[in-house]
C-alpha cells in the first residue's frame, strides 16, 4: 500500500463527500427551517441529472446542461413546495413521509414516461476529461478535482449566503422561531418556497455533476438520499456547517473503509474471505460512525435541538 494510493483514496473520499454535501445542504435546510422530512429530495437530484443529459444531448454543451439542471430542479422544487409540501408543514412527520414518498413514485414514473426506461448518456466535457498528474506523481482525473473545487465553492457561497445576507438572516430566524419572524412582517410562505427551491437546485446540481461520471437513470436518487440523511444526522439537523463536516466524514469513511478494511482483514484471514467480510463490514462503516457520533452527541456534531 503506497503513499500515492492513500492520497488518491483520500481525494476520492473528499470528492464523494463534497457531492454528498450538495445533497445534504438542501435536506438539512428544509428540515431545519420548515421541520419537514423530504424523501423526494433524491427525485430532485434525478431531475437535475435528466435535465442536464437532455439539454447537453441536444446542444452538445455541458455548461448549458448544468444551467438547465439548476433551473429544472429549482422549478420542480418550487412547484412541489407550492402544490404539495405547503399543506404538510403542520402535519405529523408520518404524513410528510407518506406524501413525499408518493412524490418519489410520481417523479420516477413520470421520468420514465418522458425519457423511457433506458439510461441516458451524459459525458464529461472534453476540456475536463482525462487524468492530470499532481505533485508527487499522482494521476488523478481532472473532472473529479473540478467536482471538489465546485463543492468547496458552493459550501463557501452557502456560508456567505446564510451569514452575510438578509435572506440568510431570515433563514436563521426561521429556524429559531417561525411565528416571531412572521409577526415581524417577513413573508414566511415566500421564504419557504425560496429555501425549498434553493435546496432543490443544489440537489439538481449534484445530480448533473455526478451524472456525468455515473449513469443517468430512473431511481438514481434514492441511494444518495439515504446517505444524505446519514450525513445530516451526523452533522446535526439544520446545521449547514454540520452537513459539511458530516458529508466529508461520511465520504472519507466510506471510501477509505472500503479499501483498507479488506487489507486489514488479510493480515489474519485468507484473501477471498478477507475480501468478502472486509467489504461487508466496510459497507456498514458509515452507520457505525453514525451510531458512535449519536452516542457521543445525541443531537449530532453541530445540532442544537433536543
Amino acid at each position: 500500500m503506497s503513499a500515492i494510493l492513500i492520497i488518491e483514496q483520500v481525494l476520492n473520499g473528499l470528492q464523494f463527500g463534497v457531492m454528498l454535501f450538495l445533497m445534504a445542504a438542501g435536506l438539512t435546510l428544509i428540515f431545519g427551517v420548515m421541520g419537514l422530512i423530504n424523501l423526494a429530495h433524491g427525485s430532485l437530484y434525478m431531475v437535475g441529472a435528466f435535465a442536464a443529459a437532455a439539454v447537453a444531448g441536444v446542444t452538445g454543451s455541458f455548461v448549458l446542461g448544468l444551467i438547465a439542471a439548476l433551473i429544472a430542479a429549482a422549478c420542480a422544487g418550487a412547484i412541489v413546495e407550492m402544490v404539495v409540501i405547503r399543506r404538510l408543514y403542520k402535519a405529523a412527520h408520518l404524513d410528510q413521509v407518506l406524501a413525499t414518498f408518493a412524490l418519489i413514485l410520481i417523479f420516477s414514473e413520470g421520468t420514465r414516461w418522458v425519457f423511457g426506461s433506458f439510461p441516458l448518456f451524459l459525458d464529461i466535457p472534453d476540456a475536463l476529461s482525462g487524468p492530470v498528474t499532481l505533485p508527487g506523481g499522482i494521476q488523478y482525473p481532472l473532472y473529479r478535482l473540478t467536482l471538489i473545487a465546485i463543492g468547496l465553492a458552493v459550501a463557501i457561497g452557502l456560508w456567505a449566503l446564510i451569514e452575510k445576507t438578509r435572506i440568510g438572516i431570515q433563514i436563521r430566524a426561521g429556524e429559531n422561531d417561525r411565528e416571531m419572524i412572521a409577526a415581524l412582517g417577513v413573508d414566511i410562505s415566500r421564504l419557504y418556497t425560496i429555501i425549498f427551491a434553493l435546496g432543490a437546485a443544489l440537489a439538481g446540481l449534484a445530480g448533473a455533476l455526478v451524472g456525468a461520471i455515473q449513469s443517468v437513470q430512473v431511481g438514481m436518487g434514492e441511494p444518495v438520499l439515504i446517505l444524505a440523511f446519514v450525513v445530516i444526522v451526523i452533522g446535526g439537523i439544520g446545521s449547514i456547517r454540520g452537513a459539511f463536516i458530516g458529508a466529508l466524514l461520511v465520504g472519507l469513511t466510506d471510501t477509505l473503509g472500503g479499501v483498507f478494511l479488506p487489507e486489514l482483514f488479510k493480515l489474519f484471514m485468507d484473501t477471498g474471505a478477507a475480501q468478502k467480510s472486509g467489504s461487508a463490514i466496510a459497507s456498514m462503516g458509515i452507520y457505525i460512525l453514525m451510531g458512535l457520533v449519536l452516542i457521543w452527541r445525541p443531537t449530532g456534531l453541530f445540532g442544537t435541538r433536543a
Partner: protein, 376 residues
Amino acid sequence: MKHLLLATAAAVFCAGSALADTKIGMITTLSGGGAGLGIDVRDGFMLAIAQSGRNDVEVVIEDDQRKPDIAVQLADRMIQSERVDIMTGIIWSNLAMAVIPSAVNQNVFYLSPNAGPSQLAGPGCHQNYFNVAWQNDNLHEAAGSYANSADYTNSFILAPNYPAGQDALTGYKRMYEGALAGEVFTQLGQTDYAAEIAQIRASGADSVFFFLPGGMGISFLKQYADSGVDLPVVGPAFSFDQGILQAVGDAALGVVNTSQWNKDIDNPTNAAFVESFSAEYGRLPSLYASQGFDTANLILSALDKASPSDADAFREALRAADFDSTRGDFAFDTNQHPIQDIYAREVIQEGDVFTNKIIGVALEDHSNVYADQCKM
C-alpha cells in the same frame, strides 16, 4: 397500467377466439431500476407470439418491480386464480429463487428467459423447470477462457458482494489459468468506483475482469475510461447490452465481452429476428430480447406437439428443443439448461449506434458444471 397491458395482450391475442387454449403467465421487471431488461424480454417474447399467428395462446403480463415479495404474490395469483399453464419472464436470480421452486411444484411449467441460479441447476433442479438463457456461471466462464486465449496472466477481478457476484468470480476463476493481481467485492448498487480503480492502478495487473450489471457497469466504464488506466477489460455481456451501450458511449469501444448471442450470428432465424424486432420497436434487440424470443419459440414448438395438460408429452416436447434458435445450435443438458456456444464480442460503433461484433468463439457447445448434481 397492469390492466391496460393485460387488456392489450388479451385483445391482441384472443381476437376472434372466445377462450384461449394455453395460458402463459409472464412476471418480469417493467418498472424501477433494471426495467430495460424486462421490457426487452417481454418485447422479444411477444414478437415471437405475434409472428406465430396463433390465436389460441394468451399471455398475461405483470410487473414484479424487481421485488421478490411482489413476484411471489403475482405468481400465486397467476397459478391459483388465472390458472396459467406455463410461466416465464423473471430477470433476477433472487426473484427466481423466490418464485420458481413453488411454481414448478404446483405442476406449472417454468421457462426462464434470463435468471439461471446455480441452486436450480444442481440439487434443486426440477423436471418442470427449463432455462432457455444460460446457467449464471456460463458467461463468466467464457470470459475466463477468453482471458487465457488473450494471454492475460495477471487479472484484477471485481463484482458486487451478492450471490450472483460471487458466482461470477467463481465462474471466471474456474476457467482462468493465470494469477490474480487483486480480487474485490464492491457494494451492490455502488455508483462510484474511484477507490477500486485506484486499486487497479496500484495492483500491477495486466487485465481487468468485472461483472457489474446495469447502471453499475455504466458508472464503472465511464470512470475507468476517464482515469487514464488503460489495461484491457473483459466482462460478461450484462454490462454491454444494447440498452446500456448508448449510455456508456465511447468509453466502451473496443472492450471484449462474452455472450451466447449477438445480432451478427449468421443464421436465417437470427437475421429475421433482428430485422423484425428493429422494425417493430424502433431499436436494436439486446441479448435479453433474443432470450425472450427464443423462449416463446421453444414454447410454441412444444405446443405444436402436445398440450400442457398432457404434462409428460409436453415436457418431452420441450426437452427436444425442436425450434429455430436465434443462437443457431441449441440443446438441453440433462438438467434442462442450455448447451450452446458462447462468443467473445467486441464493442464497435456503427454510425451513431454503439453495438457488438463477434470476434470469436470463447467456449464451444458449453454446458454447466452442475448437471451431474441434478437428480430428476
